[in-house]
């Protein structure tokens, strides 16, 4: 056997091993992601309630989707949540990371890190149940302590605005630790020499932030924005437990609507249609962000 055939023999064996190694993942990917996505698209052209046989309805589901006033409200809620949650998480997470990144006492740093983590690793259901009681208008401790500092009683969970604000605040309370950790890791990756050089040049703190910290942190920003947006669009647990989507539809999100349409009222075709609209929205926004990112994200 000459060298060339032996080499290609090794290459073939390597390729075979490669396919075998990815086989389980690709099989699952085909069966449980690609397959269902195609099935969902097909399903969106049908009316099906599980108990009768599926009926082809053409574009009816899509027409209903576009004309539904209720779904419009629900999408509006979802967008409000996405904007509120992502903005506050990014802003707050960065602020705290900047503070923690300074010289803090080691014990204090540990304390901070640990406490931010608590809400992050517990289930949304658990924390939403606790906050549901804490935010009770008459008996909750939030209004009680706000009253102590002279802030009048707020109707947190039973008014349309209050419920929206509650969802956003508790969601941020729960996830801000994640944002802080990722920002902190990003900050610690910035070489110290940059700051030292800037200091010698006499750059002010604000200038240093905008000319060093922000550009160096832009990949972190970008990553968190992508992940944060995708997650926020899929919000379900928080409104499901904290407010049950109420009052009225004030805190109902797209995913709650999908759940109710599909698995309470068994209108599976329409549920699939709404889920596809969410999918398209997420793809468009993610691709758009990648597009825009070329202008502001700075890779070293």
């Amino acid at each position: 056997m000459d060298v060339k055939t032996k080499k290609s023999e090794i290459g073939r064996r390597e390729a075979l091993a490669g396919y075998l190694f990815i086989l389980p993942t690709m099989l699952g990917f085909l069966l449980f992601i690609i397959g269902p996505v195609i099935a969902a698209i097909i399903l969106s052209f049908y009316y099906w309630d599980l108990f009768t046989s599926p009926k082809f309805v053409g574009l009816d589901n899509y027409k209903a989707l576009l004309h539904s006033v209720r779904l419009f409200t629900i999408y509006k809620n979802t967008l409000i949540f996405v904007l509120g949650v992502v903005t506050l998480n990014m802003g707050g997470g960065l602020l705290i990371a900047l503070i923690v990144n300074r010289k803090l006492h080691a014990i204090f740093r540990y304390l901070l890190r640990t406490t931010y983590f608590f809400p992050m690793i517990t289930s949304v259901v658990a924390v939403a149940l606790v906050w549901n009681l804490l935010l009770n208008t008459d008996l909750g401790i939030v209004n009680y302590y706000l009253g102590k500092v002279g802030i009048p009683r707020i109707n947190w969970l039973l008014s349309s605005k209050g419920a929206k604000v509650s969802i956003i605040l508790v969601e941020v309370w729960k996830n801000i630790g994640f944002y802080m950790i990722v920002f902190l890791a990003g900050l610690q990756n910035i070489p110290r020499q940059f700051y030292e050089a800037a200091e010698i040049d006499g750059a002010s703190g604000l200038r240093r932030f905008f000319y060093i910290t922000f550009p160096m942190l832009s990949p972190t920003f970008f990553f968190l924005m992508i992940v944060g947006l995708i997650n926020a669009f899929q919000m379900f647990d928080m409104p499901y437990v904290l407010t049950k989507g109420g009052p009225g539809d004030a805190t109902r999100t797209t995913v709650m609507y999908i759940y109710e349409t599909g698995f309470r009222f068994f209108d599976l075709g329409y549920a699939a249609t709404v889920s596809i609209s969410l999918f398209v929205l997420i793809i468009v926004l993610t691709l758009l962000q990648f597009r825009i990112s070329k202008r502001w994200v700075f890779y070293r």
Binding site: P24, T25, I33, V37, T122, L133, V182, A272, F279
Partner: protein, 284 residues
């Protein structure tokens, strides 16, 4: 700089520092208070549950709420269900993700980059899209209302493959060269060299995966229907549905029992969780 000026600056510096610490302390309080209230309330009676100001010091001998809880729902069964589901998924993902990640990181084969890209882009697919067809499928193959319906579809994970691949790429190739010269198979290199060197990444994936499925609500709510199959999150929502305002103490007892194991695990695993999160935040 005059002495006066120096004093002024020193004072400014210290008051700034104190303000900073006060702010952080306030944030810490906001983060911790709900857990303390939950714990204290679970040891109270119905009358004291809504006492204002709240009773922060719990009377640990009063475990009536816990007794009531265990009488009203099979809480430990739910805990076992959650544990079983989350661990089986975690083991499955560790196997499928590590083998795929090894191939994507180290082996050359046709279509590799395309397949990897395809897999990654599936992270954009919201589970709500796949859950409707999967629900129909599970009913068809008679897996509806079984734990298998929750476990099977998530034995693979694009995120997990991505995370492990990122880590495998950081392992120096030279380590494998010696083994390769000795004629070791790819499986030997994967199991004897790559895996033993990837402890931190594997544990990070294991913890993130376990936590995610231990806490998951959406799919169990859809795929399970009998009371005995429920997981903790579903059990908790049922509890609230049943006794809306009736028994805050029982509810808080349930939440406390649900939260404590996670917190205990966390205190030991904090380092790995942070490593895992920062690993996913890496660029490229």
């Amino acid at each position: 700089m005059s002495v006066k000026e120096f004093r002024r600056r020193k004072w400014l510096y210290f008051s700034g520092k104190i303000l900073l610490y006060l702010f952080l302390l306030f944030v810490v309080l906001v983060m911790v208070t709900p857990f303390v209230w939950m714990f204290s309330t679970s040891f109270g009676s119905v009358e004291t549950a809504f006492a204002l100001p709240p009773r922060w010091i719990p009377d640990l001998s009063n475990i009536r709420a816990y007794q009531q809880l265990l009488k009203s729902i099979p809480f430990f069964l739910y805990m076992w269900n959650s544990f079983k589901i989350a661990s089986l998924i975690t083991v499955g993902q560790l196997i499928t993700c590590s083998t795929a990640a090894y191939a994507f990181a180290r082996l050359r084969f046709r279509g590799r980059d395309f397949l990897f890209f395809l897999l990654l882009s599936s992270m954009m697919v919201p589970i709500q899209v796949t859950v409707v067809p999967l629900f129909i499928l599970m009913r068809r193959i008679h897996l509806y209302d079984t734990h298998a319906s929750l476990i099977l579809p998530v034995l693979i994970s694009a995120f997990g493959v991505f995370l492990l691949r990122q880590f495998f790429l950081t392992i120096p190739k030279e380590l494998e060269d010696a083994a390769r010269i000795d004629g070791a198979s790819h499986f030997t290199i994967y199991s004897r060299i790559i895996l033993p060197l990837s402890g931190p990444a594997l544990s990070a994936l294991a913890i993130l995966c376990f936590l995610y499925f231990w806490n998951e609500l959406f799919r169990p709510l859809i795929f399970l229907s009998s009371l005995d199959n429920f997981t903790i999150p579903v059990g908790l929502t049922m509890l609230r549905g049943q006794y809306d305002v009736g028994s805050p103490t029982r509810l808080m007892a349930a939440v406390t029992l649900a939260v404590i194991p996670v917190l205990v695990v966390f205190i030991f695993a904090q380092r790995y969780i942070i490593e895992g999160i920062t690993l996913t935040g890496l660029k490229e």
